[in-house]
Amino acid sequence: MEYEFPNELKYLQTHEWIRIEDNIATVGITDYAQHQLGDIVYIELPEIGTALQKGGNVVEIESVKAVGELMMPLSGKIIEVNTGLADNPESVNSSPYGTGWMVKIEINNKSEINELLTMEAYKEIVETEKK
């Protein structure tokens, strides 16, 4: 099974991807994560304005047979959520890096960006997990 991991994104060991533009981070779950979960049926997004530390649970993702959680990759405040997911949760499966994005965060600690994984590092983690 070949998974897609765009080169220009950053990643977390817990299968989140992050796109950074200035001090805004867009976050979603990776192709590997959506495949593990199966058909996504429901996503519980946080309220706009919620402030969370890195590592906190921010989104709950339900499939028919499992539940996954999206962790905050960076400390900050939720400034936008993908409301389109309410009617189209399947976007997470079909376009995890595009229309399947989940939240946008206003980062408050840029140094945390250095702790994120590169695509190569993340790919290795997935390879190990698959075994």
């Binding site: 049926v41 339900e62 499992a66």
Partner: protein, 446 residues
């Protein structure tokens, strides 16, 4: 009798196939010092003998001709259709319908149960059942705490005392603070830290609240606080305004009145219904309708299982697994047997018979009906001598009303009287006679 169908030859044959000499070999993993030498229990009894033994045991449970006792468990007439349907072994011996394709019968029945409860209560969604009214109320409180992320609950006086105790235990388990408040003091107690207000109507003493007014009061002061109503005899919904129209967020009830025998208090039925916006947080099983993957036919299946314990495990908001499925089937058959006409008639009779008894009691000196609000089929009466009343009732083969001192020691000589459609005129006349005799006894003593 062990219900094992094998004979010895078959057992020998099977042991050979497995490749062991004797059954004991199959237990070789168990350390020798753990193997016991049989159980210290009597030998098994045949059907006639066990029946005889149980009848002897049951003989000391008095069956009364008529009852004036309610307090959370009620005598209503149960249509014969109910037992007819739940006795069908395809229903009662079946397992939880996880394999939808082989369980369409039961799944459809549960879907119909969910639908009929929604129709009756005018709430948006009902689940497939909880254990009983008391635990349904407790789980509703926890659900509210999770939704609002607050850990304070207010419960209004007038909720069944046993229900309050159960909510208390569950809240203690989750470090949720519980406060009991008189209904006229509710506005003083409300603040933004409260997850929910729990109340009962008709309440334990019989009072019917104007729930719309109560709801407005509460939401005005604490708009994010959830309003949770419980009910111990939902047959009143044949006449009373349903919770869905009065501003209630979560409705729970004891469904025993819907076609389930009293059976010494269990099994009962926890009815649990919510407004649409809380759907994804509801505990318990849910049956949904859907289509075939490769076809056009519609069918039913357990859905939204990602809320439940077998998927969420320690992240589940409730641990409920086995619920009260067969009792919800009883309730469904009860409600469809009655239909709207029957529901209205039953509720009306309960109202009218209780009202009739109240009027009669008011004419007997020494007695005082204490309710200051309208009541359904229960009300409280101050009696001149409650012990005497209880004795006189029993002499006339009537199950006496509840002495409230059982739960409220300070309420000496107050009885909680219940009158349902199952109380004939003749039984009511005997009850009135018992009241009069009890009064005379008191007078005779002084």
């Amino acid at each position: 009798m062990d219900f094992v169908p094998h004979d010895d030859d078959t057992i020998t044959e099977m042991l050979e196939v497995i490749g062991v000499n004797k059954i004991e070999d199959l237990f070789k993993d168990i350390p020798k010092d753990l193997i016991i030498n049989g159980l210290n229990l009597p030998e098994g009894l045949s059907e006639p003998d066990v029946l005889k033994k149980l009848k002897e045991l049951g003989a000391t449970n008095t069956i009364y001709a008529n009852s004036f006792l309610g307090a959370g468990c009620y005598f209503h007439y149960i249509p014969t259709l109910v037992d007819f349907v739940v006795s069908r072994s395809e229903f009662y011996t079946s397992y939880t319908p996880y394999q939808a394709e082989a369980s369409q019968g039961y799944l459809q029945a549960i879907y119909e149960y969910q639908s009929i409860i929604s129709r009756l209560t005018q709430m948006d969604v009902a689940n497939a059942s909880m254990y009983d009214g008391s635990t349904a109320l407790a789980e509703a409180a926890i659900m509210a705490s999770i939704i609002t992320r607050k850990n304070q609950i207010v419960i209004l006086e007038g909720v069944h005392p046993e229900y309050i105790e159960v909510v208390n235990t569950y809240c203690w388990g989750q470090n949720i603070a519980l406060k009991i408040v008189p209904i006229d003091k509710i506005e003083d107690e409300l603040n933004q830290e409260i997850a929910a207000v729990l109340f009962q109507s008709p309440n334990f003493f019989g009072n019917i609240e104007d729930v719309s007014v109560l709801a407005k009061k509460i939401k005005k002061t604490a708009p994010n606080c959830l309003l949770i109503q419980c009910m111990t005899d939902p047959t009143c919904l044949g006449i009373l305004k349903p919770p869905g129209e009065t501003g209630v967020d979560i409705f729970v009830a004891e469904g025993q009145s819907f076609g389930i025998n009293p059976s010494f208090g269990g099994p009962g039925l926890g009815i649990f219904a919510v407004k649409e916006k809380f759907l994804r947080k509801i505990p318990g099983r849910l049956v949904g309708k859907t289509k075939e993957i490769n076809g056009e036919r519609e069918g039913f299946l357990l859905t939204l299982q990602a809320r439940e314990q077998h998927i969420r495990r320690e992240k589940a908001s409730s641990n409920i697994c086995t619920n009260q499925a067969l009792c919800s089937l009883s309730a469904l058959i009860y409600l469809v047997s009655l239909g709207k006409t029957g529901m209205r008639k039953i509720a009306t009779q309960n109202f009218q018979k209780a009202h009739y008894v109240k009027k009669k009691i008011k004419k007997i000196p020494g007695y005082e009906v204490l309710n200051n609000k309208p009541t359904y089929n229960e009300f409280i009466v101050k009696c001149p001598d409650i012990d005497s009343l209880i004795q006189e009732c029993k002499k006339l083969n009537l199950l006496p009303p509840l002495p409230l001192s059982k739960y409220y020691p300070e309420m000496k000589d107050v009885a909680l009287v219940c009158v349902t459609e199952s109380n004939s005129r003749e039984s009511i006349d005997r009850f009135i006679k018992a009241l009069e005799l009890a009064n005379n006894n008191k007078e005779a003593r002084y």
